[in-house]
Symmetry: C2
Subunit: 113 residues, 2 copies
DNA sequence: TTGACATATGCCGTTATCGGCATATATTGG
DNA sequence: CCAATATATGCCGATAACGGCATATGTCAA
């Protein structure tokens, strides 16, 4: 068995740098495929395929607009990642926490005077 | 060309559910390979290989302890993900923000009386 | 309707992943 | 030193991802 399908969950969909770039490009709002192609200078089929993957996991939705198709970011779907990461937040900021505590201590030591 | 190497960046390393499970198992602290094998009921070579990948991207470090090898979570390496996700925080909470604003409005409307 | 523009799909070759199994490499205790 | 335990590695087969290219599909404009 190879790596679990890229279309199965958000983590796999996001593993590809190009797809992250596409999502980044959509932060500012809806965009047509062609606009993304121009922005990121990727081939049109490549962009379409990446959008397909992103669409399968619900990270983007699309609507027709004349002969264009506008893609829209669905940031809500990033929640699972956010929640997974949240578990590590504390460990991730351990060093900062220590500095923070130190500063707090200094402050308390200063206040009484 | 296939997906960019799993050993190149954190996003790819984390794409695998089993590897996320291993990291989860290490949240509580250092663990030997065997302990992880027991906890997650994966094969020993499988765990060792996953640890190897995680180690290459710096998500875990290890130290020898007799005939055991203790692996340790390096949560700091999750920062890049956290920072990438932060860009979407606002869009991710858009709906909650709207509810929040609504509640705030209700509150303000109520206060004057 | 025809042709130009916009996007999606299909096929192909290359490459990497992943799990299983067998086995190599420590390390310790007797 | 030898056997047992703990972990790492190497090889394999199956799978699928990815990009490129050609082409199908869809949509408007004249």
């Amino acid at each position: 068995m190879a790596r679990s399908s890229t279309t199965s969950d958000v983590f796999n969909a996001i593993a590809e740098a190009d797809r992250r770039a596409i999502l980044d490009a959509l932060i500012t709002g809806e965009k047509a495929v062609g606009a993304i192609v121009d922005d990121l200078s990727m081939s049109q089929p490549q962009v379409s395929k990446h959008l397909h993957v992103l669409s399968e996991v619900g990270l983007v939705t699309s609507r027709a607009d004349g002969r264009h198709r506008l893609y829209r970011l669905e940031a809500t779907r990033l929640r699972p990642m956010n929640e997974w990461l949240a578990k590590y937040e504390h460990a991730m900021n351990a060093r900062l926490d220590r500095i923070d505590n130190y500063l707090r201590e200094l402050q308390q030591r200063g206040e009484p005077q």
